[in-house]
Symmetry: C2
Subunit: 446 residues, 2 copies
Amino acid sequence: MQKPSIPKGTRDFSPVEMMRRNYIFDTIKRIFRLYGFAPLETPSMENLSTLLGKYGDEGDKLLFKVLNSGDYAAGLSDDEVRQASKICEKGLRYDLTVPFARYVVQHRGEISFPFKRYQVQPVWRADRPQKGRYREFYQCDVDVIGTRSLLCEVELVEIVERVFRALGIRVALKVNNRKILYGIAETIGHADKMTDITVAIDKLEKIGLDNVKAELAERGLDKRAVEQLQPILELSGDNKQKLNALKVIIGGSETGLKGIGELESVFGYIERSGVGLQVDLDLSLARGLNYYTGAIFEVKALDYAIGSICGGGRYDDLTGIFGMPDTSGVGISFGADRIYDVMTGLGLFPEEVDSSTRLLFANFGGEEEAVSLALLRQLRDAHIAAEIYPEASKMKKQMEYADRRSIPYVAIVGSDELAAGAVTLKDMRTGEQRKVAFGDLVKYVK
Amino acid sequence: MQKPSIPKGTRDFSPVEMMRRNYIFDTIKRIFRLYGFAPLETPSMENLSTLLGKYGDEGDKLLFKVLNSGDYAAGLSDDEVRQASKICEKGLRYDLTVPFARYVVQHRGEISFPFKRYQVQPVWRADRPQKGRYREFYQCDVDVIGTRSLLCEVELVEIVERVFRALGIRVALKVNNRKILYGIAETIGHADKMTDITVAIDKLEKIGLDNVKAELAERGLDKRAVEQLQPILELSGDNKQKLNALKVIIGGSETGLKGIGELESVFGYIERSGVGLQVDLDLSLARGLNYYTGAIFEVKALDYAIGSICGGGRYDDLTGIFGMPDTSGVGISFGADRIYDVMTGLGLFPEEVDSSTRLLFANFGGEEEAVSLALLRQLRDAHIAAEIYPEASKMKKQMEYADRRSIPYVAIVGSDELAAGAVTLKDMRTGEQRKVAFGDLVKYVK
């Protein structure tokens, strides 16, 4: 018989991996809740009509389509059966943003706006599997929709600070504003080419200034425009200095000035609130998604080389695709897989995360087992995760089990212990053994 | 534009529904962990070869199949394209049991047996949607595999007790043993018809004794056998009396006696451990799944009419389908949707479950907003979920928002409060207002 396997690009998560992942998810969710965000879940399958056309041609190709159930080909011609759109009406969600927009429009009558929601669910993409890229992965999104208040941007910055502080990851937050990028495009006489410009700028760090300039020329920007752009890309100084310099350069663009004003407000709030996080205006930050219209964010780990581990921005018309225009919102998404890699790479998971059980009773059967079971019940009543080895096997086997499961304590109740009314408690980390009276066990292990 | 919708049989879970569902999931998981069970997750998609043939012909039809990505029909003849098996190689998981068995076999070298795992994930079935039946729903499974120890059965009974006690649901646990059912079949001379007999017995409560007898005759049992069965179905008394009577009736069946012995052990452990749960031997309990070989369990709510809300049993060869025989295990599954319905029906959700935020600051802008933000930060530092209305809107609108979100406290910091150094705190449940000094707010609200 063939060894069983799973589809390429998908993963099993072992208990240790799960406990580490849950440590990340629980931390993130706890802080989302601290800011008044409430959980939401949408179905794994959406109608294809909801998904198609929302992620560009490339995205459409990466959707996993679900075959219609029952006799999927009944009544269809051969040509029709060869069209995925005829035999599939549902697809697996590709991200959490489009389902969120769909939810908001569908349930607009029941929602109290501003609507603060978080959503932590898997998404699926038929990408070519490669290192660090999976066909099923979790997204952790947090959004507030239905207000233009810049306090929301500030809250998201605070959330970023608290999450990574709690996880022990030192990070820098890069901020930009799409309105400034538009202002730049307008100023150099290519307002129509904002998308080309931002896509090219987005690559500045990866491919360097010269290649970006070449790419901009390729995308139809004349030489003068490309040259006008250069000083903007090379702006230096702190956030305030950069914004002041920008005010002069793109002062002719109303939209650009509005973007500058927004960032000044956000930076002002952040300064007053005493957020202990490095926040840098980075004009090369563009982010690929076209629905952003205001602030954009990206978080990088300072001590580990990996792409961005969190990002997002403000959008003014996300729900417009489903017929509900003029509903502004802002959100960010945490990349759980990369955060996991950073924490593993830097050894940041607390030791206790790896053990699901605090204490194991060795099993000797008979009266010893009966007494162990009574003590075990006391531990569980005191909310201490504990178990008993289910069989009276050889001691070595039972100890190996405790060791492989990273259980810190093994309690031994043999005939001597029964007589003495005290367990022999072995600390598996130090190897140290000591006697603990039955009545003191809960207190000692807690 | 058409109002957006979701596929039939699927659901969106609103924040209030999610908070209630999480209350159930968190309670169940916490108690799983208390017993030393560790989390596991498997991919949503499995290879169709893993899934097909594991759930009977009916189950195969209910699998959701995922279309191969890319050019799925390339190089196939028209006939081939009409075969789902040619254009789909993956399917959505149908339950958590088969993926668990697949996982255990695939990772046998890394697992420490006995392997105690819990798994809470959605499953998908292309069932006809109807009230209470969905095409996507969560299962909460807990299993221990790699030991025949009856202590595991006892642990599961204790878990059932703790979960439903924590949730406030009064329940009865029905227990039976497949070996006893086999012993019965053997005794009446139809050992080969055990499946027919158990399927028929399973319907006893639903269709009554006469119909079960008719069905048994239809399934090929002769009249004498059906009559021999009747006294067994009508056994009465407590568990001990029933088992003693059974020992006489099926005493000629070695397997049957073994089943009786197993249940006597389990009942003995339960009695000594003082589990405060009604546990009844019910010989009409059969459960549909053929892989059970020992104890079987089913839990019903005492105060709410609905099917079983939890069930499971012991299996001796679950992993045999993937080439790893003789690996006994036992597990149960909690029905989250039904538990949700019971709790909603009986009004068992604690009030605080419905509010994600404990306190809302009304927003008046300016200096008042700045002071509110500073206080807000103090609350959050003290782990109190709090927020500020993001705009300085009309008071009525802000109050309505707090009301609709079930936020228990609204803090007002206007010019008077600024001067007095105290917030006006409104209790939204009672309508009562009082002044609380800035420095006392955390303590008061906590």
